[in-house]
């Protein structure tokens, strides 16, 4: 009985996910809602959006080592951040789906074993070197698309549009991502970037962003809520395609397809709804300026080297 209920729930979730994908690919919602336009005719995505959700990043598996992924290797409950976030600072009742990973269908990111080994090594050795921390803890970036993977706080995104550009201001680590929408070629292959080089175009009412030219110093995901995927490396071959489709007044369907043959056995896709939040106020997140996480962790490591437990 219980198993059957679960099966039904999964079927419903899959059906919902499928319809969401369909909506996104046609660039129009089922009830024919069409987005407002900017004066130069772009679909208007402007405003402040948040992405709080109760849906887990991956479909959970009993072999998942949750304490390790959240940075709580001693099992003391003192992790590196909120792993579960069933609250929403905006007061919305959160929908809980099966997983934000919608492809492959099992809801699990197809990570190559070496990449999981590297992640595990880094998570177990954060006291030795800052390079073992994710770029978020180092206050460099949460990455692209990782900066839109839902986390517990600082989840405001302001979209602004001007002629030929869409800009996304990320509250978390004060990123201002400026996306040209003229399908220009990517910068030369000699230029490698933490967040890659974003080039956009409009596909109907959907903003499609192609991202390449990544460096190999970042992580595809940086926050504890992504569990097994947190601290998984990104290679220079990483290629991401994002799709932003405003499906109704208050919702943008966001999708990212992630391809990195050095790290994953197959491309995978996440789908995350963004909620319009006109009253949400984005505050400056001056991360590096007050970063005590890195020096305190390294200092603890140094103390342990001098006097091992």
């Amino acid at each position: 009985m219980r198993a059957r209920h679960r099966g039904a729930a999964v079927a419903i979730a899959l059906a919902l996910a499928a319809s969401a994908c369909q909506g996104a690919s046609t660039g129009a919602s089922a009830d024919g809602w069409t987005p407002p336009r900017t004066p130069d005719g772009q679909p208007d995505l402007q405003g402040v959006w948040t992405n709080y959700t109760a849906t887990p990043f991956e479909v959970p598996d009993e072999r998942d080592d949750l304490a390790l992924y959240s940075g709580d290797t001693d099992g003391t409950g003192r992790g590196t951040g909120p792993a579960a976030f069933l609250t929403d600072t905006t007061g919305r009742t959160l929908a809980k789906g099966r997983s934000l990973v919608v492809d492959p269908p099992n809801g699990r990111v197809p990570i190559l074993p070496w990449a999981e080994e590297q992640r595990t090594f880094k998570l177990l050795h954060i006291q030795d070197h800052w390079e073992h921390h994710t770029p978020w803890e180092r206050c460099i970036t949460r990455g692209v698309p990782g900066g839109i993977f839902p986390t517990g706080y600082g989840s405001g995104y302001q979209i602004l549009q001007g002629p030929g550009y869409v800009a996304i201001v990320y509250e978390m680590i004060h990123e201002a991502r400026i996306i040209p929408t003229d399908s220009r070629p990517h910068v030369g292959s000699g230029i490698r970037l933490w967040n890659g080089d974003s080039v956009g175009r409009w596909d109907g009412d959907t903003l499609v962003v192609d991202i390449a030219n990544y460096n190999d110093k970042g992580s595809i995901a940086t926050n504890a809520a992504t569990q097994r995927v947190r601290s998984i490396p990104q290679s220079q071959d990483l290629h991401v395609v994002e799709r932003f489709t405003r499906v109704d007044e208050n919702t943008i369907d966001y999708e990212a397809t992630i391809e990195d043959p050095k790290v994953f056995t197959a491309p995978w896709r996440v789908a995350i709804p963004l909620h319009r939040e006109p009253d949400y106020r984005i505050f400056e997140y001056a991360c590096h300026e007050g970063n005590l996480a890195i020096p305190n962790t390294l200092s603890a490591g140094r103390a342990l080297r001098v006097r091992p437990r």
Binding site: I140, I178, R302
Partner: protein, 288 residues
């Protein structure tokens, strides 16, 4: 006699040209209508969209300064500091007595005290004339985005009446309005952690900044910023820094995420040494 006359004519002519140029720069900043030739947005405002950068040496020192060697002996001439003239109207910053002494102390302890050395957020108006480009995005809505390449800093300027800032921050809170064809940006809510340049010029959390962006022609913005801080200065003072459009065919903001360039400096003493981390480990500091 003839030579003397020619020189005089040339001198007069160049003086006239200079005056004319200065007048063109000055006229629009008073809030009068700019020449109709400037490009305009669909909404009829001067079109500030694009990538801009200051030239000159304001980022080294807002005031008059001589050339001097850089702080690292091995870098020789490559990172030496060029001379420059003051961008401050009236040349000198009107510090209160104690503050003049503190600026001098800051100057003498530049590397230890300048927040830029640690890749901290630059604050304003410093972000505008750092040696990195920044991009202005004028939206059809009510906001103007200024995104700076340095440290991924940015600010969203909300058009409308100034509001009291809820909290102090590194980049402050900016509200904007149009005075004729001049974009006037009013900012408060700063902390006291940022500097104006690499010469230790500084402010307190009482900083009130009024910036004026006037498009002189398609590729030149007349930028003026009036700095008011009764805790540090005896009166408000103004800087003028022209901003030039980056006309490179492929101009775009790249990343200057400098945190990774300062981790060794800030945290190096806390990690296990392998001996491989500091390629410049042998370099000697010439000063301070």
């Amino acid at each position: 006699m003839k030579t003397w006359l020619r020189s005089a004519v040339i001198a007069l002519a160049s003086a006239a040209v200079t005056v004319a140029a200065i007048e063109t720069m000055r006229a629009p900043a008073t809030g009068q209508t700019a020449p109709a030739a400037v490009p305009r947005t669909a909404g009829g405002r001067p079109d500030l969209n694009g990538i801009w950068q200051a030239m000159g040496t304001a980022h080294w020192n807002l005031q008059d300064h001589e050339a001097r060697p850089g702080p690292v002996l091995e870098l020789g001439a490559t990172f030496a500091i060029p001379a420059g003239q003051a961008v401050v109207e009236g040349r000198d910053i009107p510090y209160q007595g104690w503050a003049a002494a503190k600026q001098k102390e800051n100057y003498e302890n530049w590397l230890a005290r300048d927040p830029e050395v640690k890749c901290y957020l630059p604050g304003l108006p410093r972000a505008t004339y750092m040696p990195y480009p920044f991009q202005i995005l004028q939206t059809a809505g009510n906001d103007i985005l200024m995104a700076y390449e340095y440290a991924s800093a940015s600010r969203v300027i909300r058009m409308g009446p100034a509001e009291p800032p809820p909290v102090d921050s590194w980049m402050g809170q900016s509200t904007g309005r149009w005075e004729g064809d001049t974009l006037v940006v009013d900012s408060t809510g700063f902390n006291d952690q940022t500097w104006f340049d690499r010469a230790g010029n500084f402010h307190s959390e009482a900083l009130h900044l009024v910036e004026r962006f006037t498009l002189v022609h398609a590729d030149l913005v007349d930028y003026r910023a009036t700095i008011e801080d009764p805790k540090v200065f005896t009166r408000p003072w103004t800087i003028q820094v022209p901003l030039y459009r980056r006309r490179d065919a492929n101009a775009q903001l790249l990343e200057f995420k400098c945190v990774e360039f300062v981790e060794e400096l800030m945290y190096g003493h806390l990690v296990k040494r392998t001996g491989a981390e500091t390629p410049f480990g042998a370099a000697r500091l010439r000063w301070p």
